[in-house]
């Protein structure tokens, strides 16, 4: 029983207060919800049939999104290798890995879209701010994964190489790396998939990619064109996921 005694009553009270406060201060008009049905029907009606004439834009946009995801992942890998080593208990002392882990948690806490908006402000419109934003945002997770991959390896072979007279970098190369390589491959592919999904919306803030067209067509009420782009996005996500699942299985 989770809710027992005074603590239980206090917890229940807090939850109830939070719900009531949200209702009371948010303008929840049920009449608006009731009229939403016909509007959504109208919206969908205007989306069909999807306009196939936007093929050129779809190709251009998805190619750019793919490039943002690839280069963003590459940037994240380059940043995550040193940061992952510096965040691992196996390689460095607590005085080093603790602050680095805190830094990574801080990076993870910043949403991608926010980083992208800042980058658009800093370097201007186009795919470049998208690439930088993806690289930065993904490093928070990827460096943590790499550190965990290092710390997850069996210690005995490391001790054996130490006993044989191998230095720290040689131990990393021959005792740690062979053990962590499949984990790193799987983590990197997984992060690439997330990068691709997340960068689909970057165009909305002007940071490049296919999201730009969804934004443009919705704003100009060309829902049939927006529908085509949306279908392309869904197909792309499913295809990448299928490819990645097949790829990940190869790393054992």
């Amino acid at each position: 029983m989770a809710f027992r005694g005074f603590g239980g009553i206090a917890t229940s009270g807090l939850i109830a207060a939070a719900i009531l406060w949200s209702f009371a201060t948010t303008d929840v008009e049920f009449s608006r919800l009731l009229s939403a049905g016909p509007r959504i029907a109208d919206f969908f009606g205007r989306m069909f049939p999807p306009d196939p004439t936007v093929m050129a834009e779809i190709k251009k946009g998805s190619a750019e999104t793919l490039r943002i995801a690839i280069l963003g992942t590459l940037g994240a890998v380059i940043l995550s290798v040193p940061l992952g080593i510096l965040a691992s208990e196996t390689m460095v002392s607590p005085a080093v890995f603790r602050p680095i882990r805190t830094l990574l948690a801080f990076i993870r806490a910043i949403p991608l879209i926010l980083v992208a908006m800042l980058m658009v402000g800093a370097v201007g419109l186009g795919p470049l701010p998208g690439i930088i934003a993806v690289a930065f945002h993904a490093t928070g997770m990827l460096a943590k994964f790499y550190a965990e991959a290092i710390d997850g390896v069996s210690r005995a072979p490391i001790a054996a190489l130490e006993s044989a007279g191998a230095g720290p970098l040689v131990r990393l190369r021959y005792a740690i790396w062979p053990q962590m390589a499949p984990v790193v491959a799987r983590d990197t592919i997984f992060r690439f998939e997330l990068n691709l999904r997340e960068s689909l919306i970057l165009g909305i803030v002007g940071a490049g990619g296919i999201g730009f067209y969804i934004q443009t067509y919705v704003r100009s009420f060309q829902y049939d064109k927006a529908a085509s782009v949306t279908i392309a996005v869904v197909v792309m996500v499913i295809a990448i996921e299928a490819i990645n699942v097949a790829l990940r299985r190869r790393f054992t």
Binding site: S154, A156, P157, S163, G165, G167, L169, V170, Y174
Partner: protein, 260 residues
Amino acid sequence: MSTAVEVDDLSFAHTGADLPALERVSFRVSAGESVALLGPSGAGKTTLLALLDGRLQGWSGRVSVLGAPLDPDRPPPSARRPDTGFVFQEFALVERSSVLRNVLNGRLGRMSPLRALLGSPTKHDLEIARTALADCGIADLAERRVDSLSGGQRQRVAIARCLAQEPRLILADEPVSNLDPAHACEILALLTGAARTRGATALFSSHQPDLARRFAQRIIGMRDGRIVFDVPTSELNDDATAELYREVGPIPGIGLRAVS
């Protein structure tokens, strides 16, 4: 005869432990000797061997390995480490790497750091690795991945790695406790035989008196971090062995008598 290991009044406690792991341990092993450390689990055998291998610091006393004193506060310089080879109870192999790669790992301390990092063994390194594989009877497994091998085969790889290191002292921590009796005899025969033909000293631990008797010239009995006896194998009597395993009681089938 020169001395391979010289330990004088050695004491050591693991961080946070109430009882010392080693207490006032003194013994000597001559070069070329084959010596067994015999004792129940927790007697301090693993600790003693790891310490002689330079992997434990913070002890007191005097320890000298292959004529050079160990520093109680820092690991030995890496140039000296290849001279002492270590065979681990759990094999300590890189499971996803090939047998040959694992054996070449034993050469890493003998290569220049740059060559080691670049992963380009010389012809000489390869030749030594191949010889070690052949001596351990696993030349045909060279290209196999370790995770596809049996326990006995794995320990052969581990011994080959140790031999590739060209050690003058071979330390082996319970090298056969994970193997069945038939394989255990084969592996210990291999280990002590390889040490003998190479003129190396062998110090191995075991909790099985029959194996210690069969493969060592001298047996050092340990219990609760202390040395209980240190005798030539021919002089080892059942009472002494039984004393090591006092709480365990008589063990049927290995010729031990109960003591009151």
